[in-house]
Symmetry: C2
Subunit: 227 residues, 2 copies
C-alpha cells in the first residue's frame, strides 16, 4: 500500500530510519508491510523520505533512505483557550495539522473550565493527522499562559473574539498569522484588554457566532488558503 500513509520517525542516522514500537506495529501488523516494501516517511521537520524496509517486525521496523525531499514548513500559529471537551481539542489539532500549522499554544483562559491538557493524546492525534495527510511537519503543542503568549508575539497577535467593536476582515490573515481564539464563553474582558494593550489586531470571522473550535479551524483555513 505505498503512498497510503506517510510514516513518522525522528530517528534517522546514516541513511537508516528506525521506527518506534507503535509505528512498527501499525506498519507491520495493521497495514501488513514486509521486508523490501517501499514506504514514505517524514521526520516531522519538513523532510519527506522514501525508503525500503530492511527489517519489518511488529516491534521494530528499519528502513533504508533512498530519496529525500525537503519542502517549506508551515508558519501559522494558533493560540486556543483550553476547551472543556478534549474531543473538540483533538478535532482542532487534527484539522490544523492537515491544513498546516507550526505551533499550537493551549492557553488556560479565565473562562476555561478545564485547566489541564493531555498533551500526549494531542500529539498522538497530530501524528495520525500528519501521517494521514502526507504532511511533513509535526507542530509543537504546548500549554502557555497569556503572559508568555504576549511576551512571545506581542503586536503580531490576531485576536478573534465575539465582543463588539471595530475588527479587521478575515482577508488580513495569511501564512504568518498568529491567531488567538478563546475557549467556550470566549476570552474574558480582562484578557481581551491585555491583548489590546499588547496591540493585537482584532479580527472578525463573519457575522455568525462560531463555536471555539470552529473559529479556530476557520481562521487556520483562511490563514493558509487566503490567496
Amino acid at each position: 500500500m505505498p503512498g497510503h500513509f506517510t510514516f513518522y520517525t525522528e530517528e534517522i542516522k546514516n541513511n537508516q530510519a528506525v521506527f518506534s514500537e507503535s509505528e512498527s506495529k501499525h506498519m507491520v501488523q495493521v497495514l501488513r508491510y514486509s521486508q523490501g516494501d517501499t514506504i514514505e516517511f517524514t521526520n516531522g521537520k519538513g523532510t519527506i523520505f522514501k525508503g525500503s524496509l530492511l527489517e519489518a517486525n511488529r516491534k521494530s521496523v528499519v528502513a533504508k533512505v533512498e530519496e529525500k525531499t525537503t519542502s517549506d514548513i508551515p508558519d501559522t500559529v494558533l493560540v486556543l483557550g483550553i476547551l472543556k471537551s478534549s474531543d473538540r481539542m483533538e478535532t482542532v489539532v487534527e484539522k490544523c495539522v492537515e491544513l498546516g500549522i507550526n505551533t499550537i499554544h493551549l492557553m488556560p483562559s479565565e473562562n476555561s473550565e478545564r485547566k489541564k491538557v493531555n498533551l500526549d493524546k494531542l500529539y498522538k492525534t497530530a501524528i495520525a493527522a500528519m501521517k494521514q495527510s502526507h504532511g511533513n511537519y509535526l507542530p509543537s503543542i504546548k500549554v502557555s499562559s497569556i503572559q508568555e503568549i504576549i511576551q512571545e508575539y506581542g503586536d503580531k497577535l490576531m485576536l478573534a473574539h465575539c465582543r463588539d467593536g471595530f475588527k479587521a476582515l478575515p482577508k488580513v490573515l495569511n501564512r504568518d498569522s498568529i491567531i488567538c481564539v478563546g475557549p467556550e464563553g470566549d476570552f474574558s474582558e480582562k484578557e481581551i484588554d491585555l491583548f489590546k494593550v499588547a496591540k493585537a489586531t482584532e479580527i472578525s470571522l463573519g457575522k455568525r457566532i462560531l463555536r471555539a473550535e470552529t473559529a479556530a479551524i476557520a481562521a487556520i483555513t483562511l490563514a493558509n488558503l487566503n490567496a
Copy 2:
C-alpha cells in the same frame, strides 16, 4: 439564561409559537426556563423572534412573539460524497450550519463505503448547531445522486478533488458557491469526468491532502468568509 440559545420551531401562528416536545424538554427541564421568561427563537427560515413564555411545561412550551428580525439566509451549497464515518458527517453538518449553509446534498459516490444516511440524526445535529450559534436558517439535508446534482447545478458546480490538473485558486469561492467534495478516497475518475462534462470548475484547496470532511469545512469557510 436569555441569549444562551436560539430555540427552534416552525409552528408560529397568530403571534404564538408552539415548541416540540424535545425543544420544550430542553428549555424547561435542562435549562430551567419558566413562565414569563424571555427567549429567542427562529423558524429556521431566516427570521429570529423574541418572545415571552406563556406556558412552560416540559412537554409543551408556548411563547408569545414580541419582536421579529429577518435577515439574509445563506446561499452556499455543499455536495459531499457519503462518508464512512457518521461522526465525521455530523462534524461537517455542525460546522457548515455554524458557518452558514443553504443545502447539503449527500451523494452516494462510487467510493462511498456507506450508501445510506441517517438524515434524522443529521437534522438533530443541524438543529443543535443552529440553536448554539444563534443561527436563523436550518439547511435542507438530502441524499442526491450525481445525475440529480449535475441536472440541478450544471456548470455552477465547484469541484474540489485531489487528482492532478489545472485548478482555480480558493479565492474563486464565494457565498453563492456550490461546492463538491468526494468521500474518503475522493470521487472516482468516472464521476470527475461527469462533472467535467457538465463544465464544473475544478478548484484547489492548497497543496496539502485534506480529509474529506476537512476539505468540506475549509471550502465552506472560504465561501462564506472570502472577502
